[in-house]
Amino acid sequence: MTQTISGHELAARIRARFPDAVLEEDDVCAVVKAENIVEVALFLRDDPETDAKYLNNLCGVDWLDYFEVVYNISSMVKNTMMTLKARTDRDPGVVPSVTPVWKGADLQEREAFDLMGIRFEGHPSLKRIFLWEGFPGHPLRKDYLALPGGYKPGLQRFPYEFPEGQTSYPYLGRTPHADLMLGTAHQSAEAEPEAEPGVPMSERAVEPHAGLAVPRGEEPGQQAARAGQVTDLTVKDDKANEDDVP
């Protein structure tokens, strides 16, 4: 049976070597500063007592205020398992890559970059892996597709927690994503590009993707459109789409 090393024990071991690295600890995990993660990982891997040669899982979690990168690591020889976390600010959201320590982090870091937008410094080829280059935004972020009125996007019908006086969910004529791709997202939106943290807009993010007809000459407001950050989408054709309301 695999022994789980508690967060406190792990934190103690790390602290013995790197006194300033540990940010937080609890029963499950030890949280270290992002800039220390490679040293800590290398230490945990090569320390014979910990012997964390195997990286089981790596994923990012978006806590709205900050990102956490979770490393589930284990020692096969000792059959132990532990959870290490690295915490970083959402902006710029950079974590050093642990690929030199565990090669198995290669694809998992690329996935976290692609979907969560955490950038791993020192990764050999940090490129999009599931989504195409130029996809707007990083969809696993919690504020991706933030909808007006405090809704989380779609699909919250279960367990029927609608606001007072409302019985159905407002249907958006097109998905915000399609709007963004078609360049119509901000025709009626009050674009406040600098107001929220997120991925800075790059030229590439609205670069027309092959197969989708996007007008080349964009308006200034559109230029400022944030990748994956649709701040406001007013429902324009509410009546016309009533039939489609589920």
Binding site: V38, P100, K103, R119, G122, H123, L126
Partner: protein, 418 residues
């Protein structure tokens, strides 16, 4: 017995020939014989392609514990017709970037050697369309044209998979022609003729050549699968590697022609095998009871069945393994074979021995072949049996404390994407 069989033997044609010979000019007889013979071969080949589609699919189905086509017609017999109709209906696509003048040629060119091969076969004692004196050489020369057609197909498609397939097939065909020529030398030396009909006649007087030149039979069998692009040597259209190889871009009936040619070529190769090594129409006197041409066709299908069996059983060689097989295994064996047979023929002729000497020759050759094949096989496969082919079973988890592999240390930070 004989009168009963007349109506389905080719004796009427024989009579017609003699009748014409007496009454009209010789070139008319020549022309009539050529037309009738060609028509006969075309019929056989056309029907054979249809039958082979059905036979191959049914037999592969049986080998693979399934039924094969059994819906269209009794036992699915009409399935090839349905397939053909489907292929004809399909749109024939041509890539924009293809070399359009060359692209349409190969499906036609590949048919030429496939058809021409049948011309020199001896279907019955007097039933040879073209009794060429250099018949065996003719077969080899013809088969080298197929490679060119396939190369044109792969090149003109302007597709990398097709080009890879074309390169593979060219490399393979040149390589396999060498052991093939060598293995044909042995029966030719022994029989003293290069005519296919002559070889069959020699076998009628002596015995099946397969008994005297078993090594040639083996080498030709292996080379034939390579020449045919069939498993285990189907590297030119290796489905799992290069999609469909040289005919990746061909669709509709153009693909259908390639498919048909593959089946016809299988028949041709089986026919060569049957004629050169297994007596052609001759079968220990049975040909007097059953028409000789039926015996020949049965023999063809016997070897064709072997090809189907191979296809249903074996995986595919890698290209370099296949080339290695040709140059490192088949060529030395073929050379040894030719040397042995030449020595035997020399002794036979110089010492002026009778026909009885063939019996000890057969024994010697079979024993020698078996020994050589076993030795070569051991040498070649020793590498694979270095390790057992079964796993180790472990009761509980057991991980050795291995040091982490030397990583390229900590890389200098690469610029981050914005």
């Amino acid at each position: 017995m004989a009168p009963l069989l007349n109506w389905y033997d080719f004796d009427p044609f024989h009579d017609l020939y003699h009748w014409l010979d007496k009454h009209v000019e010789s070139w008319v007889v020549y022309l009539v014989a050529a037309v009738i013979g060609s028509a006969g071969i075309l019929t056989f080949v056309g029907l054979g392609a249809l039958v082979n589609v059905w036979l191959e699919r049914r037999l592969i189905g049986r080998i693979q514990v399934r039924r094969g086509p059994n819906r269209v017609g009794p036992f699915g017999l009409v399935q090839p017709v349905a397939d053909a109709i489907k292929l004809i209906q399909k749109e024939v696509l041509q890539p924009d970037a293809a070399d359009s003048r060359l692209f349409n040629l190969p499906p036609i060119i590949v048919f030429i050697p496939a058809m021409l091969t049948f011309a020199v076969f001896a279907w019955a004692p007097d039933l040879v369309l073209a009794n060429l004196d250099a018949g065996v050489l003719y077969l080899l020369a013809i088969s080298s044209i197929t490679a060119l057609a396939i190369f044109i197909a792969g090149w003109s498609s302007n597709n990398k998979y097709a080009l890879l397939g074309a390169m593979r097939v060219i490399a393979m065909m040149i390589s396999y022609e060498v052991p093939m020529v060598m293995c044909f030398l042995a029966p030719v030396l022994l029989a003293g003729t290069m005519s296919v009909a002559g070889l069959v006649q020699w076998q009628q007087h002596h015995f099946l050549l397969a008994a005297f030149v078993p090594m040639s039979v083996l080498i030709y069998g292996l080379s034939a699968t390579a020449e045919l692009n069939r498993t285990p040597a189907d590297i030119a259209e290796a489905e799992s590697e290069i999609v469909a190889g040289y005919h990746t871009e061909y669709s509709g009936m153009k693909f259908g022609l390639f498919y048909a040619v593959e089946l016809i070529n299988s028949l041709a190769v089986s026919g060569i095998m049957a004629s050169l090594f297994f007596g052609g129409w001759w079968l220990f006197g049975v040909e007097k009871v059953i028409p000789a041409w039926i015996i020949f066709i049965l023999k063809i299908y016997f070897f064709y069945f072997g090809l189907i069996w191979l296809r249903g059983t074996l995986p595919r060689f890698r290209i370099d393994q296949l080339m290695g097989l040709a140059w490192k295994m088949l060529l030395p064996l073929a050379l040894i074979n030719v040397a042995v047979i030449a020595t035997e023929v020399l002794i036979w002729q110089e010492a002026d021995l009778g026909g009885w000497v063939l019996a000890p020759y057969a024994v010697v050759n079979i024993a020698l072949t078996a020994a050589l094949v076993v030795v070569f096989f051991r040498i070649v496969t020793a590498r694979f049996y270095r390790l057992p082919t079964r796993v180790i079973l472990v009761r509980d988890i057991q991980v050795p404390a291995l040091p982490a592999p030397a990583s390229s240390a900590l890389r200098p930070p690469t610029p981050l994407p914005q």
